[in-house]
């Protein structure tokens, strides 16, 4: 007798929702072993990364603030992934969104008015969408894979950022530091709760999640996206345009990444600096998968990843675990998730051993 994997008739809901939990549990176990092996107090470090932040209510706002950009980007990416549109350059769209918004901020410097901040956010949306439009157009016009082009443009965006903050946009009174001038009060996303980092961007993220949930599960457009991804042939027969879906999902994911970039730039940094991009665009890919490509799941996944970021800071101070461990932990989560996912579409059965049947 041996264990055999057998395709299920319908994918298991239980396995679908249990997989991320199992993946996190497996990551904790592996992390424990790995960190111990590397000479750290493994169990303590893992506890500090995954559990400690949840036990300290004063850290909850930090988790929410950290989760906000991740969730916003991942919500957009998840919509694309559902339609088999692989935008992996969200990091670039995030950067260009912040650049576009900062452009507005610098142009409206000295200007007061309620419209300044909304205009900056709008510029962020347009900037991110425009950056995503390049791979989208290349895919529908020339059938160039959006995977490579969207990623390449991330490196271009990064250099564009460096150029602007070192050159034309450098703060004239900034002692030659490569950064723009600080945003004015009218250009800063307002604080939500006195004494915490919590800002209005977090609420904006919740609104985005709700809209995404509504569109994806309650409208024809959402249905169209899901059909194009699940059954391209059926979509074609049904008269759903694949090209339209590609462009729409790319633009939406780019717009949300750009918006997230602008909010983060204004709320957390208050200026554009080279330290601004920290790979949220890539981490959001993990969030999207961990959240099962569903807006509500993405919200939970984003909170989980944000917890691990805050926890990694704790572990860095308390257990001197290097910052780089965070990346490793995140990658392990995705690895285990992809592995555990086999039980969603398959079940394990006992089967007669191969030798009895081999002829």
């Amino acid at each position: 007798m041996r264990l055999k994997l057998e395709p299920r008739k319908a994918s298991s809901r239980l396995a679908l929702y249990a997989a991320p939990v199992a993946a996190i549990a497996l990551t904790m176990l592996t992390g424990m072993v790995l960190f111990t092996f590397m000479g750290f107090r493994g169990a303590t470090a893992v506890f500090e990364i995954f559990i400690q932040p949840l036990l300290q209510p004063e850290r909850w706002p930090d988790i929410a603030v950290k989760a906000s950009p991740l969730v916003m980007i991942a919500t957009g990416l998840a919509i694309g992934f559902r339609a088999n549109v692989w935008n992996i350059g969200a990091e670039g769209q995030y950067i260009v969104g912040a650049i576009a918004g900062t452009g507005v901020a610098l142009a409206t410097y000295d200007t007061e008015g309620w419209w300044v901040l909304p205009l900056m956010l709008l510029a962020g949306i347009v900037g991110g969408a425009a950056w995503a439009a390049i791979p989208a157009l290349l895919r529908i016009r020339l059938r160039v894979s959006e995977i490579l082009t969207s990623l390449m443009l991330t490196y271009v965006a990064l250099q564009l950022l460096y150029y602007l903050v070192r050159g034309p946009w450098r703060d004239p009174e900034g002692y030659n530091f490569p950064q723009t001038r600080m945003f004015s009060e009218a250009q800063t996303v307002p604080n939500l709760l006195e004494g915490t980092q919590l800002h209005w961007g977090v609420l904006l993220t919740l609104v985005v999640v709700f809209i995404a949930w509504f569109v994806m599960s309650r409208t024809l457009s959402g249905y169209q996206v899901r059909v194009v991804g699940l059954a391209p042939m059926a979509a074609r027969l049904g008269g759903f345009s694949e090209n339209r879906t590609v462009v729409m999902t790319m633009l939406v994911s780019g717009a949300l990444a750009g918006l997230a970039g602008m909010v983060e730039c204004s709320a957390t940094f208050g200026q554009l600096t080279p330290q601004f991009p920290v790979n949220y665009g890539f981490t959001a890919i993990i969030v999207a998968f961990l959240g099962r490509l569903h807006p509500v799941g993405v919200l939970i996944g984003g909170l989980a990843l944000a917890t691990s970021y805050i926890g990694a800071d704790i572990a860095q101070t308390a257990s001197s675990l290097p910052q780089a461990a965070t990346g490793l932990i995140q990658a392990m989560m995705l690895f285990f998730l992809l592995g555990v996912d086999i039980f969603v579409a398959n079940r394990v059965r006992l089967a007669p051993s191969l030798t009895q049947h081999a002829s």
Partner: protein
């Protein structure tokens, strides 16, 4: 421009092209078998850090390259288990591998920042390697010649041998290959492992030859350029060589204009150049009438399950 400068420019170009050629070649073979492994950048980083640590601890640089190839291979097996055995989505698994390699390399390499190692010496005797003119052909280390030899070998293997034909068959139609009785998954594992070993070697070329020191994310996205080059080459080894040398030229242009202090373009614009050039190259290659995607292996990126 003096001849001497021209010769050193060409030599820089060859050195810049070698790692993307190696990584691209490995990926080309993997993709020919129908597997899209987006983890090239991650495998390169794993190879780069493993090679550097080995070379720095043993003081023996060849051991660094050997361990780097082995480390890249191990990383690719991780991809194999998930994408080939378990049947996970290849795009997602490849991305996970890249994120993993980035994290692992910066964690493992943190203690080695500032350490120095010695480069491999030139393969040919000093009389040739140090000759003011002939060094343009004889002045490189063994890895450069190996990369060209492997291009030749891969072209011959894929187009003129029976195992090469089987590998292509698996990539074009996994179901038919399976029906004839070829072990599709085993063949794909071998192709992916080859790709991993070459990516590891390519990564080590950055940490042991191009900039012989450890820096975080030392490969700086070159793994993605290697992936794009495979498409650019229409999955043909010789065109890959050509493409790698064209990109070597673009990167060399960046280096030399920086060194010469050209005021033509700001340094950031020059640093963008290889990535922009990649996007343009992918667009141009796709514009050829009635070709483009037709060159791609038919089963590229599709999960295969025997008996499913």
């Amino acid at each position: 421009m003096s001849l001497e400068i021209a010769i050193s420019i060409v030599m820089t170009l060859v050195i810049a092209a070698t790692p993307i050629l190696l990584a691209g070649l490995g990926e080309l073979v993997a993709e020919k078998s129908g597997v899209l492994n987006l983890g090239v950048e991650g495998m390169m980083l794993v190879g780069a850090v493993a090679g550097f640590i080995t070379a720095s601890l043993t003081g023996f640089t060849p051991a660094g390259y050997a361990v780097a190839a082995l480390a890249g291979l191990c990383a690719s097996l991780l991809f194999g288990v998930l994408a080939l055995t378990i049947g996970a989505n290849q795009v997602a698994t490849g991305l996970a591998l890249t994120i993993f390699g980035t994290g692992l390399s910066s964690l493992a390499g943190a203690g080695f920042v500032g350490t120095t190692i010695t480069r491999l010496p030139a393969l040919f005797p000093q009389g040739l390697a140090g000759h003011p003119i002939f060094r343009i052909v004889f002045g490189y280390d063994v890895i450069v010649y190996l990369s060209v030899a492997l291009t030749l070998a891969a072209a011959w293997f894929l187009n003129h041998t029976r195992p090469g034909l089987i590998l292509r068959c698996v990539g074009e139609s996994d179901a038919s290959a399976h029906a004839i009785g070829y072990p599709v998954t085993v063949i794909r594992y071998l192709a992916v492992a080859f790709g991993g070993a070459l990516a590891g070697l390519a990564g080590a070329y950055y940490s042991l030859a191009v900039t012989p020191m450890w820096a975080d994310r030392i490969t700086a996205g070159r793994g993605w350029i290697a992936l794009a080059l495979v498409v650019f080459s229409s999955w043909r080894p010789w065109r890959l060589l050509l493409g790698a040398y064209i990109f070597g030229a673009v990167m060399t242009l960046e280096l030399y204009s920086k060194a010469a202090g050209f005021a033509l373009l700001p340094p950031e614009m020059l640093a963008m150049l290889p990535y922009l050039a990649t996007v343009v190259a992918l667009a141009v290659i796709a514009m050829r009438p009635s070709r483009g995607r037709l060159d791609a292996p038919r089963c590229l990126g599709k999960t295969f399950r025997a008996g499913a």
